[in-house]
């Protein structure tokens, strides 16, 4: 439940439905945007910008997965394959046909969306965890197709993809790409927020919480499940398109199964079933990656007796343990903890 400072009343339903109600929140949001688009890039170096870029792409992909898994309750462990479809679509279009970015982005979204439609179709019959495994099957099939795509995907050779060119400016530096990725990520987040507060979001949650009752209430479950798959894939496609243009080179190895599983995992760590949770998940995912990469050589330095590979094994263990700790201490995700912090902040100085 949203708690509000006293003295804020809703006079219309439109006001009640909106997210930003108080001038304070408006101000907070403004500050956030200023930080994101002006403050941060002003002071950050390429390294930090690079981390944020990867986080931004992950946020987009994670938002899609969150709508499918968090809201609609369908587990997907083939998400990275969809990102791959988006990436390869845009790379093929820009490499073979020379399409510009503003054309490859929607095409990647559409193609991946259609793919999602195809993957969603078994949802007519398959339920529960079995649907997760059907996405796993699609993962293998998609990767197989990419690998054997001949000249189209340059299967084993790696498909180059030019950097984005928008309005005559080539976005080939971290800083320029940063703005594009952040615009897409923020837009994606806003759209997701909007989607989940309308009938679609409610229908997804209804199906997740009680699919039988939802059907009694006149929901065409199959349609909404497929829709969830499509929306999820469109997000993945957009993320893949950004990824392709950002990375500049695609190989099939960039879309390993384990990454899909980690996407799922960090969605849970972030807080499944809430948009902010997905954003948190993306942040935690990429930041833990960084911490582990930082820690590896560092531990090697402090304990010279350990060889590099033992250190790597140790950091891998650490990675797993951090996640286990997260889960055991806060199984409802970072987002839940964040909400508690927020509400105690709002109610300060009163404990209730």
């Amino acid at each position: 439940m949203m708690k509000r400072p006293c003295g804020t009343f809703d006079q219309t339903y439109a006001q009640d439905m909106s997210y930003i109600r108080t001038p304070f929140r408006m101000g907070l949001l403004a500050v956030l945007f200023l930080l994101l688009f002006i403050g941060f890039p002003l002071y950050a170096d390429d390294y930090l910008l690079g981390i944020m870029n990867v986080i931004g792409i992950t946020v987009v992909a994670m938002l899609g997965l969150n709508i499918l898994t968090g809201y609609c309750g369908l587990i997907s462990i083939g998400h990275v394959a969809f990102v791959g479809v988006g990436a390869y679509t845009s790379a093929i279009l820009s490499n073979h046909l020379g399409w510009p970015f503003w054309a490859t982005l929607p095409s990647a979204a559409v193609v991946t969306g259609l793919m999602g439609l195809l993957v969603g179709l078994p949802a007519l019959r398959i339920k529960g965890f079995y649907i997760a495994i059907s996405t796993l099957a699609f993962h293998y099939i998609i990767i197989w197709v990419i690998l054997h795509g001949g000249n189209l995907t340059k299967g084993v050779w790696g498909l180059p993809c030019d950097s984005v060119e928008l309005f005559g400016v080539s976005l080939d530096t971290e800083r320029r790409m940063y703005y594009l990725i952040m615009v897409v990520a923020v837009t994606g987040t806003i759209l997701a927020f909007n989607l989940v507060r309308t009938k679609y979001g409610r229908a997804f949650v209804a199906i997740r919480d009680n699919d039988i009752a939802a059907e009694f209430m006149g929901l065409n479950i199959f349609r909404y499940k497929v829709l969830a798959f499509v929306i999820c894939s469109v997000y993945a496609g957009v993320a893949g398109c950004l990824y392709a243009h950002y990375l500049g080179m695609l190989t099939v190895e960039q879309f390993p199964l384990i990454d899909s599983i980690w996407y799922m995992g960090f969605l849970i760590v972030g807080g499944v079933g809430s948009i902010t949770g997905a954003v948190f998940g993306a942040f935690v995912y990429r930041l833990i990656d960084q911490v582990v990469i930082f820690l590896g050589p560092f531990i090697g330095q402090v304990f010279p007796a350990l060889s590099g590979s033992s250190v790597a094994g140790f950091t891998q263990m650490l990675f797993g343990m951090v996640i286990i700790l997260f889960l055991v201490l806060e199984p409802r995700g970072v987002n839940h903890r964040w909400q508690i912090v927020l509400s105690s902040f709002r109610l300060w100085p009163f404990p209730y």
């Binding site: 909007n194 949650v205 919480d209 009694f216």
Partner: protein
Amino acid sequence: MSVQEFVLSVKDLSLSFGGVLALDSIDMDVRKGELLALIGPNGAGKTCLLNCINGFYHPDRGSIHYRGRPITGMPLFKRAHLGIARVFQGIQLYAGLTTLDNLMAGAHYFIRHGVFSALWFVGKAKREEIRQRRVVEKIIDFLEIEYARKKMVGELPYGLQKRIDLGRALAMEPELLLLDEPMAGMNLEEKEDMARFILDIHEERDTTVVLVEHDMGVVMDIADRIVVLDFGKKIAEGDPERISKDPRVVNAYLGGEA
């Protein structure tokens, strides 16, 4: 009697699970605007019958007509679109949504906007959501659950959850409301409230109601007509007074020779 007067007519309905005959050639009509109570001992097939009407179970034999239209093979969700609403025996709410959203989810069919407008939340989506919100707020007022409006339903007490379940069914703007033991597990006060709501819905909104209930007192008080099931068979039908005197009904409830 012409077909038009029946909201629902069930003919020769049979359903079996494995070898067990759950429903055995049931014939039942529901007249427009009446409050029909469906009673019978546990396991008599009442919920099964409702499930068949809703389309959750598909009968082995027989037909169901809704306002003269055959709906026997129609999928579950489409029947809901026709105006058949259901209140469940246990708690079947969407635990992850607020009371308000549960009701809005009930009104799903009436909110008509596309994904794209929903994504941007402008124009049609916004208009439709606000319009439906008004309707839902009226239901919230009617059921006196304003204070729970923005609470997650999973956290609310049982009695309230049942009321929200009823509210969600009302949000579907039903023409035929199927209530499956709406008062089970309630205390006397809550039962009275619930009975009052059912009567109000029935009378003010002119909704046809089929009520499954074990509390004979309530049934006798509010029902226009009663159908009695036992072991999947219809054993009696008639107004409350006649049913209360019917020896087969008494037998079925008290046991003994039929």
